[in-house]
């Protein structure tokens, strides 16, 4: 009997029973492939990798438990209902039964995804952890032009685009309001933001606000993902808004909305609402308010007169100070006393989001702005044009990159390099660990120095242990280096001794042997081969240890070596280019 023979009626076991191919799965669930895809996307079911691929290597396998999970999904039944409903409508229409068709059309079956979200993310933190893709996609669709379009037979409804836009702005308003933004990065692909929500780092990408290219892809898949992400983000926003005592969905000032200053409208709304709620809190717990009575008193002078709710705002800030970590506080105060003005061509949406997130005040050119260009309190004007005609002497005219660089460095950078008309210094990614990468760009070093200088200023005792605190890493490096040098010296010494010993031994032997030498015999040349050079020795040691390794480990080692080599090559290439650029500069100057 062949080994693989299974008698009739005997159940399958092992991988053959546990995993089924996709076509088997589709057949089992009695759905069409698009519906299966939809279900998989919505339920978060993905293929698994069985240890033994029973049906061959070119299939994707689904676990039977996943399939059962799909099979018991109410959505599956709902999809079937929708299909029959569509058939009914079609039939009614084609039979010219207008009554029935109208009645049916009025009662279109709908479905909700909230239970799915709950199922996939049982805790809020799980949802936040998985928010990266969601945010990137929603922001991408928010950037698509709001037109009903048919791409590849699939419609991207305007309402979806609007919804994405609203959701993304709600999210940004929350992040900006609670000062949770940490890093930003303008890349070629768009602007990356990283925020810290619930202790989780959430990174997302917003495309540049330009006409997007729509390639020929399966938009059904994209729209299904988007459907889930929209719901997820709405629930997350709801939760977040409630955590700062703001009702959701927000009701916006229609005037501002019409002026497409939604983000500003949202932040206004957030301010107003949270002020109201804090008012309620403070009235109930009056002793808390009394406790902080002196603080707002002292800060009273700083308040701009035109903002009536500012006192409450401050109060609320003070009361919240306790549960904020030091980083948030630092972020909040970065642009504390800086008033920005954005000129027409600067990326308004992004700057309106990030500047308030770091405690700055911002206005822009256009209707509905809080203050206009001639306002005397403006300290920085963000300009993205080759030259600036009329200039106020009281303010600085800077390129947008300055804001982003300041945020990444967490300090206010000197402005000379960013003034209008000049090429700004390189914009560096805040997501890179320069030391691990092996190559530190010049400007990163400069920023590090500035940061160190900043810290020195803050330190209470500038004279004393400043050196250590200033740059502990470099000091550590020095220690290491000293040690290394010492060790190297020792080694060299030992080698010398060994060599000497060998030489002596040889001489001794030669002396003993010399008289008995015969015609066909020659003494080994002592200097040449007896003591192979150190490199050879190291290589031998290497190869000898490799001799007794198992094949698996040896292959792994080789792979690691290749990887290391590649990385090193990359770094060397960068260094080489840097060197060449420096050289060119030197010769030209």
């Amino acid at each position: 009997m062949p080994k693989h023979y299974r008698p009739a009626g005997k159940k399958k076991e092992g991988n053959a029973a546990k995993y089924v191919t996709r076509s088997q799965a589709v057949k089992y669930l009695q759905v069409s492939l698009p519906v299966f895809r939809r279900l998989c996307i919505l339920k978060g079911v993905f293929p698994r990798e069985p240890k033994k691929k029973v049906k061959g290597n070119h299939h994707s396998y689904y676990h039977t438990k996943d399939l059962m999970f799909l099979k018991h999904e109410p959505l599956l039944e709902k999809f079937r209902d929708m299909r029959t409903y569509e058939r009914k409508v079609k039939k009614a229409v084609s039979k010219k039964n207008r009554d029935l068709a109208e009645r049916l059309l009025r009662r279109k079956p709908t479905y909700t995804l909230d239970m799915l979200i709950k199922e996939r993310y049982p805790k809020f933190i799980d949802a936040v952890r998985d928010l990266d893709d969601c945010l990137s996609m929603v922001h991408l669709f928010a950037a698509l032009p709001a037109v009903d379009r048919i791409v590849d037979g699939e419609k991207i409804p305007v309402s979806r685009v609007h919804n994405c836009r609203r959701l993304s702005q709600e999210w940004q308003a929350y992040i900006s309001r609670t000062h949770k933004l940490r890093k930003t990065f303008i890349s070629v692909k768009g602007i990356y933001y990283q925020a810290e929500v619930e202790g989780q780092k959430v990174t997302w990408l917003t495309p540049h606000a330009l006409q997007q290219v729509l390639p020929e892809v399966d938009y059904r898949v994209l729209l299904t993902f988007l459907e889930f992400y929209e719901t997820l983000l709405a629930f997350v926003n709801h939760r977040l808004y409630h955590s700062i005592n703001v009702t959701y969905p927000p009701i916006l000032d229609p005037r501002l909305e019409a002026l497409s200053a939604d983000l500003y409208a949202l932040s206004r709304y957030l301010d107003a609402n949270s002020q109201m709620s804090t008012k309620a809190i403070t009235s109930s717990g009056s002793e808390q308010a009394e406790h902080q009575q002196d603080e707002p008193g002292a800060l009273m002078q700083q308040l701009p007169s035109n903002e009536p709710g500012a006192l409450m705002h401050l109060l609320e800030d003070a009361s919240r100070e306790d549960d904020e970590d030091s980083e948030t506080r630092q972020c909040k105060n970065l642009f504390r006393n800086i008033n920005f003005f954005l000129s027409r061509e600067s990326p308004r949406e992004s700057l309106l989001f990030i500047i308030p997130a770091f405690g700055g005040k911002v206005s822009w050119e256009g209707a509905g702005a809080p203050y206009d260009e001639s306002d005397q309190s403006i300290t920085h004007q963000i300009v993205d044009r080759p030259t600036q005609g009329h200039k106020f002497l009281s303010r600085e005219y800077l390129q947008p990159q300055w804001v982003y660089d300041c945020i990444n460095a967490h300090i206010i950078l000197p402005t000379e390099k960013y003034i209008v008309g000049c090429v700004p210094p390189p914009h560096l990614s805040p997501f890179v660990d320069n030391d691990a990468e092996g190559h530190v760009p010049e400007y990163a070093e400069a920023i590090e120095r500035l940061k160190a200088a900043e810290r020195k200023e803050v330190l209470p005792l500038p004279g004393m242990g400043n050196e250590d605190l200033d740059d502990p890493q470099s000091l550590l490096g020095i220690i290491d280096r000293a040690e290394a040098i010492e060790a190297a010296k020792k080694k060299q010494k030992m080698l010398m001794q060994e060599k000497k010993y060998h030489d002596e031994l040889k001489l001794e032997l030669q002396g003993a042997q010399l008289p008995s030498l015969q015609s066909g015999v020659e003494v080994e040349d002592a200097e040449g081969d007896a003591l192979p050079d150190l490199q050879q020795r190291a290589k031998d040691a290497d190869s000898m240890s490799e001799v007794s390794m198992s094949r698996k480990k040896r292959k792994l080692l080789e792979a690691m070596k290749i990887g290391k080599k590649r990385k090193e090559d990359g770094v060397n290439l960068l260094k080489e280019r840097k060197r060449r650029i420096d050289q060119a500069k030197k010769t030209s100057s």
Binding site: R107, H208, P215, P400, L428, V521, S543
Partner: protein, 758 residues
């Protein structure tokens, strides 16, 4: 008069039908005319009529085409005659016409030019109404078109019968009616373009003439195409005239009493209502139109609920890679590749090519939209729902930690490390060496055909034999100072000058072969080799039938095995020196033998073929074990002095250590050499073994075998010995340990023998 009237009406019908046939064509032409000419005939009637007049004028005056005019005259006269008899013909014409619609279109193009003259005859003044006026005109004028009977009298026959003829049929008098000359396409086209009215012309195929439709006719056609009544004055919906006068009628039309059903509500209506009521009550029909608006979003994670995920363990998708410096819109200059580098990317394989080429934009406003934004999002989506996810442990370890922890070689001393002596004298590659059991002498055989004996400690050459053939193997007898030498097809057993007198005497006795004659004839046939006294070299010569590559003494020194790879079933022979006997090993062998060895303590014999090593028990005379190293080709074999372990060297540079108690598979495979392993050897007393290879190196290993059976042998690479140089692709040809000291002799293809000491 009556008949005339009939005729006109039938004529009219006929015309209509014909026109219907040509509807499509005309419609086409109307369209053309509308598009091409500004003065569309439908714009102003006045203009139209004017044009008509002009045309008639031209037609009258234009005698350019004489034949045409003549013909028209002729036809006129004929027409008159034909009036009476034509009415039955008319109806049938249509069918024919319908059949040959295509032809007519074609002909129309050709003949339109010539028929310009005639058109006034045919239909210009056609009176569609068939009114009395027209009839009067008919009666009065001889050239009236109304009663123009078809000239042709062929009747209802397919016109294609006349297709190839010169005539289209016969007139009433039986004369042939000739076909008109066809105008060239170009001419007709020109005519059409010149004449704004050309769209009105259709061809009467049957009579082979062109008919010019009048405005009324065209209106008629248009109305028919709009599916209205052909005549404008026909009222399709006349107001109802109740001819019956009700006043004064005393009795109803029907005297039957009103039926009951007129007074009771419909049963079926009631049933239908009940059905609807039930459906509404049961909720099948919902009357409240709008479903209730519920708050769409709520605190999903609010209430304390089961916070466990159902289903299989969730594997979160890996997060997208965060951007590095190079993705910046304004990266540091060193991240931007030079133009040469970008060009070089084109030469790379598609998959090696960098996906993203950094570029510098001097200001934020100049950054364009990223064209792959949607594509990349889509790819990410595909990854999320189509890629199988597996938990994989990322190995983040120091590569050094992968290397096995070996004991420090320093603790495993002594072992040969440095070259101490060289023995020079051979003229060709030294193929084989052998150290004498006392450790005082070293024998070597070379390809130059000489065998030499060296004093180990001094390097003095004691004795030289010139055999004349390349030496394959030399081997000292373990007991006596006798040397076995394999060269070509012969094996020599040579006396040496080493050893004391007692030994010499013993050797004298041993190495004496009685020259056997006569009686031995039968024996020689039986025995495979010849034992011959060899006086030139001083010893015995064993003549084999094939090249001998390997000679090995049994540990007691009485037996000697020789190996001939091409000897097939007799490839391995065992000779007994004391009895001068030869026998082949009594086992069935398979494959070409490469090397062989005696077990160091027991009466066992190892024979290695290219693929495996077979272990035979000599007493029981059977196969005990088969060792399978799994290498390409075995080249050498050595048995541990303990007898339970063996090493096998292969031609792919692998060294296999077999623990024969453990398994028939190698306990450890050491990949040390880049080229063929030529020789492997164990030290007799120290836990050392060595492998030498054609890559001019010899690896010295520590190979400790423990008496405790539970402990596996410890194998530690100790030293790589270099020094020999390559000659003719060969490196170190042979290596042997000194029997007492941890010293190593290596024989190289560079005709040197080296001694490595500790």
């Amino acid at each position: 008069m009556r008949s005339k009237r009939n005729l006109t009406s039938s004529d009219e019908k006929d015309l209509q039908k014909r026109k219907e046939d040509n509807l499509v064509e005309i419609e086409k032409r109307i369209e053309e005319a509308e598009t091409s000419s500004d003065d569309s005939p439908f714009v102003s009637d006045f203009e139209d009529s004017e044009n008509d007049d002009n045309e008639t004028l031209i037609g009258d005056e234009g005698s350019t085409d004489e034949s045409g005019s003549q013909e028209s005259e002729l036809s006129d006269s004929e027409d008159e005659d034909a009036v009476q008899s034509s009415d039955d013909d008319e109806g049938d014409d249509n069918a024919v016409y319908a059949n040959d619609d295509k032809d007519s279109v074609e002909d129309n193009n050709h003949s339109s030019d010539s028929e310009v003259d005639e058109h006034d005859n045919v239909g210009v003044e056609d009176n569609i109404d068939g009114s009395d006026d027209s009839r009067e005109i008919v009666e009065e004028s001889d050239s009236s078109e109304d009663e123009v009977a078809p000239r042709n009298t062929i009747g209802d026959v397919p016109l294609k019968w006349y297709k190839d003829e010169e005539h289209i049929g016969y007139d009433l008098s039986g004369k042939k009616i000739k076909k008109k000359e066809k105008t060239s396409k170009l001419d007709s086209f020109l005519a059409r373009t010149d004449d704004a009215k050309s769209w009105r012309k259709i061809i009467d195929e049957y009579n082979d003439e062109e008919v010019n439709l009048t405005k009324e006719e065209i209106n008629l056609i248009r109305r028919m195409m709009d599916s209205k009544a052909p005549h404008a004055d026909f009222d399709p919906h006349p107001s109802y005239i109740d001819w019956f006068t009700w006043d004064g009628a005393k009795h109803p039309l029907s005297n039957a009493p009103e039926p009951k059903r007129r007074f009771i509500p419909s049963k079926w209506d009631a049933k239908k209502v009940v059905k609807y009521v039930r459906a509404i009550r049961s909720g099948q029909i919902k009357l409240d139109d709008k479903p209730k608006e519920e708050p769409k979003f709520y605190d999903l994670w609010g209430e304390a609920s089961s916070a466990d995920r159902q289903g299989l363990a969730y594997i979160p998708a890996p997060k997208p890679k965060l951007p590095g410096h190079e993705e910046s819109y304004n990266p540091s200059l060193e991240y931007i590749p030079t133009q040469e580098e970008i060009n070089a990317y084109q030469l790379m394989f598609e998959e090696d090519r960098p996906k993203f080429i950094p570029k510098q934009y001097t200001s934020l406003r100049s950054v364009p939209a990223y064209e792959k934004a949607v594509q990349e999002t889509f790819d990410r989506c595909l990854d999320l729902y189509l890629c199988p996810r597996v938990h994989k442990k990322r190995i983040n370890i120091d590569p050094e930690s992968l290397k096995p922890k070996l004991p420090n070689p320093r603790n495993l001393k002594p072992y040969p490390t440095t070259c101490y002596l060289e023995y020079r004298g051979h003229k060709g590659p030294v193929v084989t060496i052998s150290a004498e059991s006392t450790g005082q002498w070293l024998a070597s055989g070379s390809k130059d055909g000489t065998v030499r004996i060296w004093e180990v400690e001094t390097g003095r050459c004691l004795q030289i034999w010139d055999i004349g053939e390349p030496i394959n193997e030399v081997e000292w007898n373990p007991e006596l100072p006798i040397l076995a030498v394999a060269a070509g097809q012969d094996v020599f057993i040579l006396k040496t000058r080493c050893g004391n007198d007692e030994h010499q005497k013993k050797i004298e006795d041993l190495l004496h072969v009685q020259p056997q004659v006569g009686a031995d004839d039968s024996d020689t046939n039986e025995s495979i080799v010849n034992w011959v006294q060899d006086d030139t070299h001083g010893g015995i010569r064993l003549k084999h039938f094939k090249t001998v590559t390997k000679v090995e003494w049994h540990r007691k020194g009485d037996y000697l095995s020789t190996l001939m790879p091409s000897g097939e079933s007799r490839s391995v022979l065992v000779h007994q020196l004391s009895k001068k006997l030869t026998q082949r090993i009594p086992f069935k062998t398979k494959g070409i033998h490469v090397t062989s060895a005696f077990h160091p303590t027991r009466s066992m014999f190892f024979a290695a073929t290219k693929k495996d090593v077979r272990v035979y028990d000599l007493l029981k005379q059977k196969l005990v074990k088969k060792l399978e190293p799994g290498v390409r080709e075995i080249s050498s074999l050595a048995i541990h002095p303990g007898g339970d372990n063996a090493i096998v060297g292969s031609k792919d540079g692998k060294l296999c250590w077999f623990d024969m108690d453990l398994s028939s598979k190698p306990y450890k495979v050491l990949r040390c050499h880049g080229k063929d392993i030529t020789s492997v050897a164990y030290h007799r007393s120290y836990p050392l073994f060595v492998s030498s290879s054609d890559d001019c190196t010899a690896y010295v290993f520590h190979g400790m075998v423990y008496s405790d059976l539970n402990q596996n042998p410890l194998i530690v690479p100790l030293e790589i010995l270099r020094g020999h140089s390559s000659f003719d692709g060969r490196g170190v040809m042979d290596c042997k340990f000194h029997p007492r000291q941890p010293w190593l002799f290596t024989a190289g293809a560079d005709s040197l023998i080296k001694l490595y000491c500790h």
